[in-house]
Symmetry: C2
Subunit: 275 residues, 2 copies
């Protein structure tokens, strides 16, 4: 459920109107409580106007994008849109398609946030695609903040936007950030001036909730969190972090992706050198 | 990154072949380690053949579906597809579209799992849609297991599939399960025979990882978890659960949705009575 939306707000106001009839029958103290709750609710539901675009490109990882999209879209009045080179549906790395809501040409003049999800082969291609890099560079120059989830950091890096910045990425690609002139930081969320980066895939949820907290305050962010029932309970508490997961799981994944990481580094080097 | 896929497997085998050249230069003990790692990797990457369909319908909540989709699709060889009434792109509750990969008519004869995401108004509509309920009933009769995330439970309930079962749902809709003849259980994941239900939105990720663990074992599940860097770190550790979140946040959300829950209950009652 993702329902702090204009429709919900209307429903809520309707419910409040209905409730006010009941409230008048109760004692004054209860009424005062209800009034306080009402005032609080009005404060909470006050629409904002954040403009957020989430880049999507062929073979991006959908969860990198939709985790944060869900949380950010919980901000009443915010515009949270998927943006792509063209209006055509974009294939995810699982083979299904998501339709962008904006094309590069339709990007708002100034964004509060441009967020870039990651992927694998698709992200390498996006990293080498001048149309993508030109858009990211231009939009970033007009955005209050830029951000990434997972290997989306490498697109930011390819566009030269991580130079001199502290940043994070999917744990297997952290070291590659150095090629882009960044200082890798093995944290779930890293902020440095106008740049916010998240670790692998699911870190996008934590990153987005942290932004909701910043944009709308603690109370609002907790409302969004509770609506999404974000009370994570992974069966293996330590296996989602390379620093605490069983060594043989870490080793295997590193072994699996060694060739891939080498290719990624080489490509990133080429792009950085060229631009 | 969601890359335990056939392509990754090929890349992995290629990397292994390349690595074997290096290994031959090292001492025997290292070679033996590499061989063990190889054997382990082959065991890990052995493709399975689980057939999983995730129902999508107008105004479903994308994260309910894509959280589990991502984790389940980490199982090499598994077929994890979005299924809808027609092949048309399906609008999510955030206004963008996701294209289904199967139509009801194309549903595999026997599924390992039929999973149903939730939503708000869209879920009420799906719950009253005979085409959806007929499909769910038929597919469930042929599926080894049925499941839901968030309010998707109410579609299972409307189809009569939760009768006599222990089940969970989005915390605000838990009590509604009684209308469907179920015993509500306030847990993140609830299993009862062939039924697995998850709590609100993000619980789908935990649910799916638990299924990966069951289908492929602990080691594999930890690999999928680590690839998704699922090491959740919500800023507010207690605010994602109604039992531990600040009371005023819980109260406000309950106040906001009181009318909605009443409507939902009434509609569910009608459907159950009719079928």
């Amino acid at each position: 459920m993702n329902d702090i939306t204009p429709a919900t707000r209307r429903a809520f106001l309707k419910a409040l109107t209905a409730a006010s009839g009941l409230i008048s029958l109760r004692e004054a103290s209860a009424q005062s409580d209800a009034e306080k709750a009402h005032a609080r609710a009005m404060e909470l539901l006050k629409p904002g106007s954040e403009k957020i675009a989430i880049l999507i490109y062929p073979s991006f990882t959908a969860l990198d994008a939709i985790g944060p999209q869900h949380m950010l879209a919980g901000m009443t009045g915010a515009s949270v849109k998927f943006i792509a080179a063209t209006a055509e549906p974009v294939k995810t790395d699982s083979g299904y398609f998501i339709t962008p809501q904006l094309t590069f040409d339709q990007c708002p003049e100034q964004l509060d946030l441009l967020l870039i999800p990651g992927g694998t082969t698709g992200t390498i291609q996006a990293m080498e695609d001048n149309k993508v890099l030109d858009f990211v560079t231009l939009a970033a120059s007009r955005s209050k903040r830029i951000g990434s989830v997972c290997t989306g950091s490498l697109i930011l890096g390819a566009a030269g936007l991580l130079k001199g910045k502290r940043a994070t990425s999917h744990w297997q690609t952290l070291d590659l950030l150095k090629i882009a002139g960044a200082t890798p930081v093995a944290q779930r969320i890293v902020r440095d001036q106008n740049v916010i980066t998240g670790a692998g895939v699911t870190a996008g949820i934590d990153l987005a909730l942290d932004l909701v907290r910043e944009y709308r305050g603690d109370f609002y962010a907790q409302g969004v969190q509770l609506l999404a029932e974000y009370d994570p309970q992974p069966h293996f508490a330590k296996s989602g972090n390379a620093a605490t997961a069983p060594k043989e799981v870490v080793d295997l994944l590193n072994h699996m992706h060694a060739g891939f990481m080498a290719k990624w580094g080489e490509k990133l080097q080429n792009v950085i050198h060229r631009r």
